[in-house]
């Protein structure tokens, strides 16, 4: 089967690669690009551990083909922090103990990025619906919700300060 050439950006860096059409996006990220922060949990689009952003939209990278990110911008958990500081969501998960084993965390973070983008000030109910495609088997979600609330607060303070 013929390979396809794809060009995309990953965490801001341009890449051009040849891929087999059947290569899944999550395998491109983990095995070709060696970015192992994105996890494979269920491999059936249930658990959300493999969530990444494609052109700003959260998707489950186990259920997308690598060829489909041609001309698109990818963001994985490795691209969240800048050189000097954590993303407010990462800080929130740290401060509010939003993780135990950490397996679901990269997916939770990436999903929460889009959630807060759409809805900068979500209610608890909206957060719970917003992360309903991400499973956590440790925390019981309470601290994850708090972590996202922490980030929402932090981000709105930052927006105010900038204004």
């Amino acid at each position: 089967m013929s390979k396809k050439t794809i060009t995309f950006s990953i965490n801001g860096a341009q890449q051009t690669l040849e891929v087999e059409p059947r290569l899944l996006l999550v395998h491109l990220i983990r095995e070709v690009l060696n970015l192992t922060g994105t996890h494979i949990g269920c491999d059936t689009s249930n658990c959300g551990a493999c969530t990444v952003l494609v052109d700003g939209k959260s998707v489950k990278s186990c259920t997308m083909l690598a060829v489909q990110v041609n001309n698109k911008a990818l963001l994985t958990v490795e691209g969240l922090a800048n050189e000097t500081e954590y993303h407010p969501l990462q800080e929130g998960f740290k401060e509010e103990h939003g993780l135990h084993c950490g397996f679901c965390t990269p997916g939770m973070l990436m999903r929460a990025v889009e959630l807060l983008e759409h809805n900068p000030n979500p209610t608890e109910d909206e957060i719970r619906w917003g992360i309903s495609g991400n499973l956590c088997r440790c925390t019981g979600y309470v601290n994850i919700v708090r972590a996202i609330q922490y980030a929402a607060q932090k981000m709105s303070e930052k927006t105010l300060a900038e204004a």
Binding site: R22, L23, L24, G48, K57, S58, R111, S132, G133
Partner: protein
């Protein structure tokens, strides 16, 4: 899990996609959101030799009212329906539905056209389209044709889409003043298929049912339009008794298979309960 090898095409126009379909026939599969197809390919339940990815074709994603119809492009994502101001202002049945279709990430990919073209009675849109008397626009080498939703789902994973054809648009007659809708789905957890789902669309005038549409999800091999309950209600004054009678008819019209989600008896009972609730919710929506 990794799908078996396939040749990949991403046509830039509908015509190109249709000619690829003509060329590769039954060995080819259209991919839109891919959230039914890719899992099936991983499990080897589907082994297409050619994938025709329609995601790059412009002009297939829109939600607009035109010529008496709400027209929805086949490639419109569930998330776009969920966040559409037009849908939120007038078509509350979709607000009920998009919330319970899979989860946010899947809704970012999954499309309304794919949900229908997949031909799965467990999917949520078919019942809604039956309740709303939708028609499906299908394009092929000879041009496009329109199929009423009642003739679209033919059997288990079988639809009216024929060789070298692509579903391009869904057309829903714009409901008149005094209309409302509801979709109620009983699911064990987020992302699950319905144990039972009921779509109801009504038009109410002077406390009387003027028009009624009822569709059922995942309680029969092909989604059911409960025509006897629809005609039983039409022209009658709203009352608890008549709603209960219609709900019983919906329950009788279903033929659920027992599975992990429940026994046949349980599912029939759920159809009855959900139908009652959905009719009441649709009435409230119509009068609110």
């Amino acid at each position: 899990m990794i799908p078996a090898s396939f040749e990949y095409f991403n046509p830039q126009t509908l015509d190109e996609a249709i000619s690829l379909l003509e060329q590769y026939g039954d060995d080819a599969k259209i991919m839109s959101g891919g959230h039914s197809l890719i899992p099936m390919m991983k499990l080897r339940l589907a082994n297409p030799e050619y994938i025709i990815d329609i995601n790059d074709i412009p002009g297939l994603s829109y939600i607009r009212e035109e010529g008496g119809f709400l027209k929805i492009g086949a490639l419109t994502r569930e998330a776009e329906l969920e966040h559409s101001e037009l849908i939120k202002s007038k078509y509350h049945i979709f607000c009920d539905a998009t919330k319970v279709i899979a989860d946010p990430q899947v809704r970012n990919r999954g499309t309304i056209g794919g949900n229908l073209a997949h031909g799965d009675a467990a999917n949520d849109h078919p019942a809604i389209m039956l309740a709303m008397n939708a028609q499906i626009v299908i394009q092929g080498p000879q041009g496009s044709r329109t199929v009423p939703m009642t003739d679209f789902m033919l059997g288990f994973y079988q639809t009216a889409i024929e060789h070298a054809e692509i579903l391009t648009e869904i057309q829903i007659p714009i409901p008149p003043q005094g209309s409302g809708g509801a979709y109620l789905k009983l699911e064990r957890k987020v992302g699950d298929y319905a144990t039972a789902g009921v779509a109801v669309q009504v038009t109410i005038e002077n406390n009387t049912f003027k028009k009624v549409g009822i569709g059922l999800t995942n309680v029969s091999p092909v989604p059911v339009k409960v025509t006897d309950a629809e005609s039983h209600l039409t022209g009658k004054t709203i009352s608890d008794q008549i709603i209960q009678e219609a709900a019983q008819m919906a329950s009788d019209a279903s033929s659920p298979s027992p599975d992990l989600r429940g026994s046949e008896e349980y599912k029939r009972a759920m159809v009855r309960v959900l139908t009652q609730r959905a009719i009441r919710r649709a009435i409230e929506d119509a009068q609110g």
